[in-house]
């Protein structure tokens, strides 16, 4: 008995040891948006080092591009970031058009603009549903996805696909499929009633933004989890090549739609949304405001879209002249670009895909160092990455 007493006294008096522990997170984890594995070294609740392990979804698109014609590649490039497939088709097609000197007709360019913005709304609504879910709020998921479904219906009525439109052609867009999933008939233009349905859908989207404002933006629990957490200073964001809302939330006023528009963005009126704090909350707020701006762009675009053909004259066999070109575009997640090295054949000699999420995620080891483990999911989710976009 006396010996036992003695032992317990010893245990209490010795300082608690917290040896470093290696914690494996993933690759199957609901908050990782795909298959991402994190190997974290933790000291108690504090993360001392984290190494993301990626490549579970590597499909080798850059090699596959070397054995495919340019027309065949459009079917693949929209699979890189499947949440905004159309937005990753556009810079590829425009790059090919630059090399060949073909220009898409104006109407086709406006259709590209409308669809890009619809995909931006769709992509950000996925964030609006998944991010609160990762923080423990389940209701916004239902509300945001409900309105996203309307946007996907619109997209389907034009392109025939919900995720992988494969709708761009060199020199224009594909003649649209009309009537949605029930009646598959080929029309030569946007389906009848598209503009009215778009107006109605945008009204709903703007309404759900207001609802999300009440439900999430002002929510104290959400704020407690996100305000001041995961701060990225502007200089670090630039050094790591972060772009899109992740960069703008750090106070950098940079949007490729304003700086280097490859679609007629100069003819619509919209604001670039920025925030100053660079924390998780600011990244959330930026995306919510961008949905409103995107809806504003769509509503203006359907008023301004000119009549005309959808396709320019393109030779049956597209041989792309020798040259090297890089075309980038503001994807919902940031700068998305393609560097094409053409040697004058039907297939690219080399295609470098600058995918947004790859650069956006590469800041993670730096960002998570010294953070608390419970904040890991909040920080990771706020970067809004898609693993298909990371792994290519």
């Amino acid at each position: 008995m006396t010996e036992l007493m003695h032992r317990s006294e010893v245990a209490v008096s010795v300082e608690l040891q917290t040896p470093d522990m290696t914690l494996n997170i993933g690759p199957q984890h609901p908050s990782t948006h795909g298959v991402l594995r994190l190997v974290a070294k933790v000291d108690g609740e504090k993360i001392t080092e984290v190494e993301p392990v990626i490549g579970y979804m590597h499909r080798g698109y850059e090699k596959l591009a070397e054995v495919r014609t340019y027309a065949q590649m459009t079917a693949l490039v929209n699979r890189i970031d499947w949440v905004s497939g159309f937005a990753s088709e556009v810079p590829f097609i425009v790059a090919v058009e630059r090399l060949t000197g073909i220009e898409a007709p104006e109407r086709a360019q406006w259709i590209r603009l409308i669809l890009t913005e619809l995909f931006r709304i769709s992509s950000h609504l996925v964030f609006m549903s998944s991010y609160p879910l990762e923080l423990g709020a389940t209701t916004p998921l239902m509300w945001a996805l409900r309105e996203r479904e309307r946007v996907l219906d619109l997209i389907e009525s034009v392109t025939g696909g919900r995720f992988h439109p494969n709708f761009n052609r060199v020199g224009g867009v594909k003649p649209a499929a009309g009537g949605g999933s029930q009646t598959k008939k080929i029309s030569q233009d946007l389906p009848a009633g598209f503009f009215d349905q778009t107006r109605a859908a945008m009204e709903k989207v703007l309404h759900v933004c207001d609802e999300l404002d009440e439900l999430v933006t002002g929510n104290e629990l959400i704020k407690a989890r996100t305000v001041g957490i995961g701060i990225i200073p502007a200089d670090k964001a630039i050094e790591f090549g972060l772009s899109g809302p992740n960069l703008r939330a750090s106070g950098v006023d940079f949007d490729l739609r304003k700086v280097e528009p490859i679609l007629p963005y100069d003819q619509v009126d919209f604001d670039v949304v920025t925030a100053q704090g660079g924390d998780c909350y600011d990244r959330y707020v930026c995306r919510l405001e961008e949905i409103r701006e995107a809806a504003k762009i769509v509503l203006q675009a359907i008023e301004k879209i000119p009549a005309g053909p959808l396709q320019a004259k393109v030779p049956r066999i597209l041989k792309v002249p020798e040259g090297q070109v890089y075309v980038r575009h503001e994807n919902p997640k940031g700068e998305f670009g393609y560097y094409i090295v053409s040697e004058g054949s039907r297939m690219p000699y080399r295609l470098k895909i600058r995918s947004t999420s790859f650069s956006n995620l590469s800041i993670l080891p730096w960002l998570l160092e010294g953070q608390l483990l419970p904040d890991l999911v909040a920080i990771m989710g706020s970067l809004d990455f898609v693993l298909g976009d990371v792994d290519r």
Binding site: E66, R316, I317, Q324, R346, Y349, K352, R354, S362
Partner: protein, 178 residues
């Protein structure tokens, strides 16, 4: 600007200059581009394999005139003006080594790891040059032109059997709608 940065030669194509620098001046040039020219945004880094023979796909336009080499290419841009430049350095195939720019741009770490496994180019001074996408035991460098596309070796492309004849240069009128 190209002369100021000590370019060997430069080409302006589609609005963005391609600046060729010597690989010994790689890190210094990129550092100066950031500090003196304001190109602080690290966009991406990758490689190009210039080879006379390609195991898959179409090769270069003029194999006889080609000097076999790797090129490391890095794009820097500015988030103030939108200006951008592509920096290229030649890396010989028998000595595929170049200095790492991680000390200048921390964001280059993953890009250099990818380039290392895909092309077999060594980045001297990289803190952790492990494989990024590929599994640990993977042999070969997939983006080299000498590397075959294994799925095509096992099963030929079914395109012509599957749907319709593909148009070719010899037979341009066959198949397809556009």
């Amino acid at each position: 600007m190209a002369e100021r940065l000590g370019a060997l030669r430069w080409v302006a194509e589609f609005g963005t200059p391609r600046i060729y620098v010597d690989r010994s001046a790689w890190v210094e040039t990129l550092g100066r581009a950031r500090d003196e020219e304001g190109l602080a945004f690290f966009s991406w880094l990758s490689g190009i394999d210039w080879a006379k023979d390609a195991a898959v796909g179409d090769g270069v336009a003029d194999p006889d005139a080609l000097t076999e080499r790797f090129e490391v290419i890095c794009r820097l841009s500015s988030v103030v003006s939108g200006d951008a430049m592509h920096f290229l350095a030649e890396v010989p195939k028998d000595d595929p080594v170049i200095d790492s720019i991680v000390s200048v741009f921390a964001g280059a770490a993953w890009h250099e790891r990818e380039c290392h496994e895909m092309f077999g180019i060594d980045f001297r001074g990289h803190p952790y040059l492990a494989k990024l996408y590929l599994p640990d035991g993977f042999e070969g460098h997939p983006l080299r032109k000498s590397y075959p596309l294994l799925s095509r070796e096992v099963k030929p492309w079914p395109g012509t059997v599957d749907v319709e004849d593909k148009p070719s240069l010899e037979n341009p009128e066959v198949g397809g709608t556009s």
